[in-house]
Point group: C2
Chain length 365, copies 2
């Protein structure tokens, strides 16, 4: 009758070995599903481990495997708060991580310098095996810094030079459809309230608006750069509405700015959509419950998180197989892959209508 005892401390692998009457090594092999243990023995070991409530010590595994089984994500507090994209993205990430025995370490650095230090420290301490890089900027120094550090990493969105593997989702499709929709409704003066232009997505959205508006032969000088916040969106909207010839439609780079913009319009007695059409971006839960309900752009943030986590774990796997211990050859060089998810989609609701002016409708059907 083996195993008749109760342990008062956390059971370890030697407890399991003793009760199952095998060696420590055999237990480890059995529990990790490696060959070299008879089927019958393996079952006994697993049973004992379960009975004892044994779980491997994360730090012991980490130390011997040189693997933290953890990945990192840093995000500055402003972005953490402002962005409805983040929660479902994280939820997607976590699903995958949990399924593959990994854990998410979240950093909230105060600024860019703190963020860089944070990544260095996580790497140097062996706290994480890899990191996500999000909120990509123009000429972002982080991808190459990370590549040099030898820390496996992927980017959320794709940088022009692409030193790192990435998973991206084309925002441009949504903006393009929004502008096209407005043009089809007959608008000839379509404005844009942009996000910070040092962010890749802020820039891409603006560039797309510009390209499509120009292709339609419409003026491209109706844009104001804001910052994805409500106050920025409100100010930018006021600027556009103060123009001698204000736009009859505004494409916003996110929902929050669009909502604040609608409030500015309302406060001036400009009715949406009769006198001003408006589109947002993000499809926040609130957007469909506005009056009028907001036409916006939706992307699959959860799916993005799932894909990103899977890719990062694969990159980590590949890097360690490739020999992490060779700083002369960056781990990333193994193979750079760029995943592309289904593009963002326009969600039609009630905030767009034909322009108010007596101008002839130029709807091209």
């Amino acid at each position: 009758m083996p195993g008749g005892q109760r342990l008062t401390r956390r059971p370890t692998i030697v407890d399991v070995a003793r009760v199952a009457q095998v060696s420590k090594g055999a237990v480890s092999f059995a529990l990790n599903g490696r060959p070299g243990v008879a089927e019958h023995t393996r079952e006994r070991i697993l049973t004992v481990a379960a009975e004892l409530g044994w779980r491997p010590s994360a730090s012991a595994r980490s130390l011997s495997m040189r693997r933290a089984h953890a990945v990192g994500l840093a995000r500055q507090p402003e972005l953490l708060g402002a962005d409805p994209f983040f929660p479902p993205f994280i939820a997607g990430v976590e699903t995958v991580l949990a399924g593959r025995g990994n854990v998410l370490v979240l950093q909230v650095p105060r600024n860019a310098a703190a963020e860089r230090d944070g990544y260095h420290r996580l790497a140097a301490d062996g706290r994480v095996d890899g990191v996500f890089l999000s909120d990509l900027r123009v000429d972002d120094p982080r991808p190459s810094a990370l590549a040099e550090l030898g820390l496996p990493a992927i980017t959320i969105g794709r940088t022009p030079k692409s030193l790192l593997s990435s998973v991206s989702l084309d925002d441009r499709a949504g903006i393009e459809d929004a502008v096209t929709h407005l043009v089809a409704l007959g608008h000839r003066r379509i404005g844009h309230v942009a996000g910070q232009q040092h962010f890749l997505h802020g820039r891409a959205r603006k560039a797309t608006w510009r390209r499509v508006v120009r292709a339609a032969g419409l003026p491209t000088n109706l844009s104001v750069t804001a910052d994805f916040t409500a106050s920025g969106g409100a100010r930018a909207t006021a600027t556009l509405l103060d123009l001698a010839e204000p736009p009859t439609a505004i494409v916003y780079a996110n929902d929050v700015m669009a909502i604040a913009g609608m409030a500015v319009a309302a406060s001036r007695g400009v009715s949406v959509p009769d006198q001003l059409s408006v589109t947002g971006f993000d499809d926040t839960e609130l957007s469909r419950h506005l009056c009028p309900a907001l036409t916006t752009v939706r992307s699959d943030a959860l799916g993005w998180g799932v894909a990103a986590a899977e890719l990062l774990l694969d990159v980590i796997e590949a890097a360690s197989a490739h020999g992490l211990a060779r700083p002369d050859r960056p781990a990333q060089s193994a193979q750079v892959v760029h995943l592309e998810l289904p593009p963002a989609q326009l969600v039609l609701r009630d905030s767009c209508a034909p322009p108010p002016s007596p101008r002839p409708r130029v709807a091209r059907r």
Copy 2:
């Protein structure tokens, strides 16, 4: 000339010892600021460590210290997304953790069962030294489960039975002030759109509304329970407005529901604040940029995060001093402390006005 070499692998404590010409132990003592090393020697060791770019291995430290230097926080995806409270709270938590050499592990469990398993696993794997418990529910089984598990934990908000230390911030003050404000404006029919009543904060807000309204001799049957989401807030608002005698003011349990409620009012031609006064809760950035700007309740989420992290780290410290290895005596029993932060405050803006009816104003000055 010691130290003339470059290491290709991660430097360890033995590299530092070799270069500084001392023992491993001395290095460890010097780096941890413990007595037993001559000042002169200590300095040399620190210099060498810095030159070599040495950083302690997190897993090695964890293994020998039986401390993960990490804390956990689990939050279900719906809550993660809906709640503007969370980002600044996390930012506050992270500031403290980073300053004390700890790290935040974020879990996003799909449901209550997954959450419980998640905490168990984090504890059993030794991934974290303690956890935050947020989104407290009525008769929440988690505090006692955690206490039994022996995992150090604190609650965000205080449970009635209070097995665990806690840090809370009184929401009720904000609601009370909101109702009082509306009463002073002359409202006699003040409604409430509540959050889920199985959440402690949802329940507390409703109870406070009820108490203050009753104390003023006003009807207490004008509340609808929703769920903190825009769609829930919209539905609840419609229900109230459909009443034979609808309220002239509505106190919402959060901003999102208030904004959706304002949209419902607008869609019915009910003007805010002339025909309907409205208050929110959270002071989201958007709230001041609405039309009309939303009167709401603000609490210091960042400060809450700071206080919570400090308390949790202290509790962990105390528990390990107290002898974590004694499951017969729960670690928590050491000392239970309840921190109370400055209460939430009403932020007056433009969404409240005297009621429209010809009723005499009963403003009590």
